[in-house]
Symmetry: C2
Subunit: 271 residues, 2 copies
């Protein structure tokens, strides 16, 4: 099984390195990428372009910021679609079930698996994140479990794995958004110390969660904007969708405003 | 110190009963209220109307659903304002700092304390909720600490206690909203079992929090609608305000839709 990983970002490169370490045949491309990507991809087989990867691979793992998921499928369609069932495209991105179906529709006639990744990039000898998979073709990637990947098939067809990812990220990254919004509001209103003391006394687990998750978010906030928008879309007719539009706008602000980051760092300091 | 509590709802009646049990002089009115209120107010001194209470009391504790806070102050103004500094009005409601200031502005020239109540109604011999208080007149109610009330003055003037309450409720009731939204979304998408299992494995504290807080919310969802709108207003220029508009719409749905309640009950069952 020849596996292409597009792209070798933080998660993609770590998954590719894990596959490589477990003797899978895996390749990436550095086309259009910088020095940091090259460092993360050190030791991996490299092909000159996305198109070359798509022609070579039996399996393409798409691991991207969610806003880029559909565009990748559309770019690769001219190479992948003529190959029919001889190739499997697995969308592993944090997208809504509707977006996952759009990605599948952009690649008619080829193998397709919907994957949702839960947990951080694999490191060292850890178990790594869970790759939840759904859709009729999901069993064809079962051998990933012999290559260091925690691959788990769930029922429900294309969209179910994405729905699981949305639900999980909507809770975990949503809590981080709430904690950020309220810390900023209380700081503006001069009530930060009192709020912090009350949380420490009556909600110590919540405060500890936020002391970990808020500072950990600063470097990722820009990536979470599109993910929050996918979660908003996931809610469909459930009238809570504005929650995640608000979270998207908040992460956009945090990604570009050092003053907000400084206030949050002060509020969620550990002492 | 003669204390009027308006109104004897779940929180108001419990605070009044605690004051009464600790030998404070406290009164309520059953004007316009039903049999449940009468049962909660059993044993308390009763006056025939809000206006009579406002003429009698040295201190009026306003404890209401947040959407009714300003209207109460406006109704009582004709009785309270002529009494000047001889009476203190304490707004104890879950309102934004701006609403707290509007309430104060509706009662010019009288004593005013901004109070935010954190925690459930006092029961039996427990410590009861924290009554955080701010504003220049807050020290005048310090004797509440001798009457079974956990009364705590914080700095920051009128609005600070409300801001503390908004920040705390925005986190705690916000988490309940996220957990409800994502459980409904995952259930619609057929991914409920997988999401529940993943939360149990990797976020057990969050799942336990939601297993307590979501079922506990059903009977209160209708009251939380206006509170979420106050929290949205609290955020001002911070671009996260839609988070709490979405939460308000979600609680509105849950308050009126038994099907949503049934789905949430199934998702957050303890087993």
């Amino acid at each position: 099984m020849k596996i292409a990983v597009i792209a070798p970002g933080m998660m993609g490169a770590a998954v590719a390195q894990r596959l490589h370490a477990c003797r899978a045949t895996v390749a990436v491309t550095l086309e259009g990428r910088g020095a940091e990507t090259a460092a993360r991809a050190a030791g991996l087989m490299q092909l000159p372009s996305e198109a070359a990867l798509a022609g070579w691979a039996d399996v393409v793992l798409s691991i991207l910021p969610p806003g880029q998921a559909l565009a990748l499928a559309q770019r690769l369609a001219p190479v992948l679609v003529p190959r029919g069932k001889s190739v499997i495209f697995a969308d592993c991105n944090a997208v809504s079930p509707a977006t996952a179906r759009d990605v599948a529709a952009a690649l008619p006639g080829i193998g397709f698996v919907d994957i949702g990744i839960i947990g951080g990039p694999p490191r060292g000898d850890d178990a790594g994140p869970r790759l939840y998979a759904s859709g009729d073709d999901a069993p064809q990637l079962q051998d990933l479990t012999t290559r260091g990947i925690d691959y788990r098939i769930i029922p429900g067809g294309i969209g179910a794995a994405s729905a699981l990812k949305m639900g999980y990220a909507g809770i975990t990254k949503g809590i981080t958004a709430l904690g950020s919004a309220m810390a900023l509001g209380a700081t503006e209103a001069g009530a930060a110390d009192a709020l912090r003391a009350e949380l420490a006394a009556s909600q110590p687990e919540v405060l500890r969660y936020l002391q970990r998750s808020v500072p950990d978010m600063f470097g990722k906030a820009y990536r979470w904007v599109a993910e929050m928008e996918e979660i908003s879309a996931f809610l469909g007719d459930i009238p809570a969708a504005p929650i995640y539009q608000g979270a998207a706008r908040l992460y956009e602000r945090i990604a570009t405003d050092p003053d907000s980051v400084a206030k949050l760092r002060a509020f969620y300091r550990k002492d």
